[in-house]
């Protein structure tokens, strides 16, 4: 799942954000008490950030200012997604865990239940008054704040302008039907693969289920169980199947094998659904493709509402076992301050944790395409049990491949139900 997570949480662009969000008592975003520069002198705070999350400039400025403010040093350690859960779990059991660490929004609940995350309730009341409510949702477990929302991203359609033009598609599709019509035209032209979509781009599928208002799991008594047989899931899968029928991509692979951007880079693919940063991968493989690349929102049924998307994102958490929790909170206050949260949004093109900072995204083409999707975006089910589901081999991916290979939705749901439920029932 690691690579998929990179894909999920990597650096995309995006602009506006969710509509009505709970608490808007603006202005309460400044840090409260200021600690003197020498109070933490000599200490070093260890921060784990995932690969690609922290731009150099941001890291440099933040480190300098943190040192000025607290007298303490920060040591950033860049982590790879590969094997991160095991690494984090063991690290949290050690005497010197990372004081602050980045944790995927969908993984936060599971870790909160282990007792490894410190309660950040006071931090929330101090600086989190205007955190966008639905972004903060994943950091709250049983009413307690276990992390601070940090940044978020979602997928867009990345397309090849000349392939679209040659097939006679002059305007970017605004609705799902227009999109399919465009793909039909490219197919009819016969010179390019209309879209590259492997069978297991599971976060795209998750977005479709969000768009359909479907739930992947349901409650059975006090247990969570598979809801894949639900007709709404079936409707989402039908859409996926329709998209996939335009592609020659393997039905049992995800977007990382082969890297879909590499395929796209050859110029014989109309479009693919990916994160903004994947365009960079394509350009690296074939610099000539750069001028052909365009972006648009994954269109929904009607022009006024975009397709649902998976909102990948990260929270920052503090280790319960950290001996420097106060210092860690000082760090969070600074890192999540308007200055640095805004800088991160600008440099990485990611959605910041509050709406008031969205101005930092202006002028980012990818962000403009991603913005409408984010309004209707959601996550995977926010239950602690969920983490086990996405461990390879993800039963939902198995489900997707089974449907694409001709099974009915019900048959496929039945096929993976046992494994799915087993994972949901696993003790935490």
């Amino acid at each position: 799942m690691k690579r998929k997570l990179i894909a999920a949480i990597g650096v995309a662009g995006m602009m506006v954000s969710m509509a009505a969000c709970g608490s808007d008592d603006g202005g309460s975003d400044s840090s409260g008490k200021k600690s003197g520069p020498d109070s933490y002198k000599g200490q070093t705070l260890t921060v784990w950030a995932m690969d690609g999350s922290t731009p150099d400039q941001w890291q440099k400025d933040l480190t300098a200012e943190f040192e000025k403010k607290t007298g303490a040093k920060v040591k950033f350690e860049v982590q790879q997604w590969n094997g991160i859960q095991q690494k984090l779990t063991t690290a949290l059991s050690e005497e010197n865990p990372p004081d602050v660490f980045e944790i995927g929004n969908t993984q936060t609940a599971a870790y909160a239940k282990t007792g490894g995350l410190a309660d950040l309730g006071d931090l929330k009341s101090e600086i989190g008054g205007d955190w966008t409510a639905n972004l903060n949702e994943a950091a709250v477990v049983d009413g307690k704040q276990y992390g601070a929302p940090w940044y978020f991203t979602n997928r867009v359609v990345i397309y090849n302008k000349s392939v679209f033009k040659e097939a006679g598609v002059t305007e970017t599709p605004k609705t799902r039907d227009e999109f399919f019509a465009a793909l039909d035209k490219i197919k009819a032209k016969g010179k390019a693969e209309p879209i590259y979509l492997p069978g297991q781009n599971w976060y795209f599928f998750d977005g479709l289920t969000i768009g359909q208002g479907a739930d992947l799991v349901k409650k059975d008594g006090d247990k969570w169980v598979s809801n894949l047989a639900d007709p709404k899931i079936g409707a989402a899968m039908d859409l996926y199947k329709k998209y996939q029928s335009y592609s020659k991509a393997p039905k049992d692979k995800d977007e990382a094998t082969p890297q879909q951007a590499d395929v796209f880079a050859k110029g014989k693919t109309g479009a693919f659904i990916g994160m903004g940063w994947e365009a960079g991968t394509a350009i690296k493989a074939n610099p000539a493709i750069e001028k052909e690349i365009g972006y648009f929102t994954i269109p929904g049924e009607t022009a006024d509402k975009a397709e649902g998307v998976f909102l990948g994102g990260s929270n920052l958490a503090v280790a319960e076992g950290s001996a420097k929790q106060d210092l860690a909170k000082e760090f969070l206050k600074l890192a999540l301050s308007d200055k640095f949260e805004g800088q991160l949004a600008k440099l990485n093109g990611v959605i910041p944790n509050k709406e008031s900072l969205n101005s930092n995204l202006a002028g980012n083409v990818v962000a403009e395409a991603a913005a409408p999707g984010a309004k209707v975006g959601g996550t995977t089910p926010l239950i602690p049990e969920w983490a086990a589901v996405e461990n390879a081999p993800n039963p939902i991916k198995t489900f997707m491949t089974a449907v694409l290979n001709g099974k009915s939705n019900d048959e496929a749901a039945k096929q993976v139900e046992a494994e799915f439920n087993k994972r949901l029932a696993q003790k935490q």
């Binding site: 690579r3 350690e77 790879q80 095991q86 050690e94 990382a256 050859k266 690296k284 493989a285």
Partner: protein, 279 residues
């Protein structure tokens, strides 16, 4: 040697097979190096570019630019060399006893080491993690060295036993007749004859320790105490299917072993055969 027509034909046959085998054996190694030197568009070309014509060091630059690369090189070398050397020393003593002496329980020891050789270390990682964590030895090269030493010890010992046994006993005895004590005879007569055996046995230990990944992954989280397999794995995820960087890193990782093997194997095989002919 006389050569009949039929033997010449079968010679052609044999050489032909050998050439095919050489291609099959070497191609993956060649392809690794070739890919590492090709610019990305050549790597993902519709038709494979068989020889890297547009040489580039770009992928190597990416690979070397990784943080702490040289620290990891040093750690890998330290741990590997120490583990192999220590296990050779321990194994030498044990193998001598097992190959040359008669005592009660001898076969029990042999079978014991054979069983030890089967230990599935990859699946015991968590148990080892608990031990090291609770001994407060995380992020240290010492536990790595010790565990790698034991990983390769049974194989080293059992293999060396064969080499020790291959040294004609008469040599040792005549040295003893000449007034050497048994330890002296061992050092002066047997040890020199064992040199090729020691070298070839050490190769196995070297490659095992050099490759070890699951244990260091969980024991040493500080970049300063990590080893090269972690560096290599970092590229596989960071670049997804960026084969250029991955192959460059793999090449760098493979080179020390390839060089060591080609160098040692020559000596070891010829040493072994020479010894056999003379013996």
């Amino acid at each position: 040697m006389k050569r009949s027509a039929s033997s010449r034909i079968s010679g052609v046959w044999r050489n032909g097979t050998a050439v095919l085998l050489i291609i099959g054996l070497v191609f993956p190694v060649y392809w690794m190096f070739a890919t590492a030197f090709k610019p990305t568009p050549d790597i993902i070309a519709e038709d494979p570019v068989w020889f890297p014509t547009n040489f580039t060091f770009e992928h190597f630059r990416t690979a070397f630019a990784a943080e702490n690369f040289w620290t990891m090189v040093r750690n890998s070398l330290t741990v590997t060399v120490l583990a192999v050397t220590l296990s050779l020393i321990l194994a030498l003593a044990g193998s001598f006893a097992l190959a040359r002496m008669r005592f009660k329980g001898r076969k029990g020891f042999i079978v014991g080491f054979m069983v030890a050789q089967m230990a599935p270390w990859e699946v015991m990682v968590i148990a080892i993690y608990f031990i090291v964590r609770d001994s407060d030895m995380l992020n240290s090269l010492i536990p790595l060295t010790l565990f790698y030493m034991v990983m390769v010890l049974p194989f080293t010992l059992l293999t060396l036993r064969g080499f020790v046994a291959a040294v004609p006993k008469e040599l040792e005895e005549s040295a003893m007749v000449d007034g050497c004590t048994r330890p002296q005879a061992f050092v002066k007569v047997i040890l020199p004859l064992l040199a090729p055996g020691l070298m070839s046995t050490s190769m196995f230990g070297f490659i095992t320790a050099w490759n070890e990944f699951p244990l260091v992954l969980v024991l040493n989280k500080n970049a300063e105490s990590q080893t090269l397999p972690l560096w290599l794995s970092q590229f596989q995820t960071q670049f997804g299917d960026d084969w250029g960087a991955t192959m460059a890193a793999s090449s760098v990782f493979a080179i020390p072993i390839l060089v060591l093997f080609v160098f040692l194997q020559r000596k070891a095989v010829s040493g072994l055969t020479d010894g056999a002919v003379k013996g």
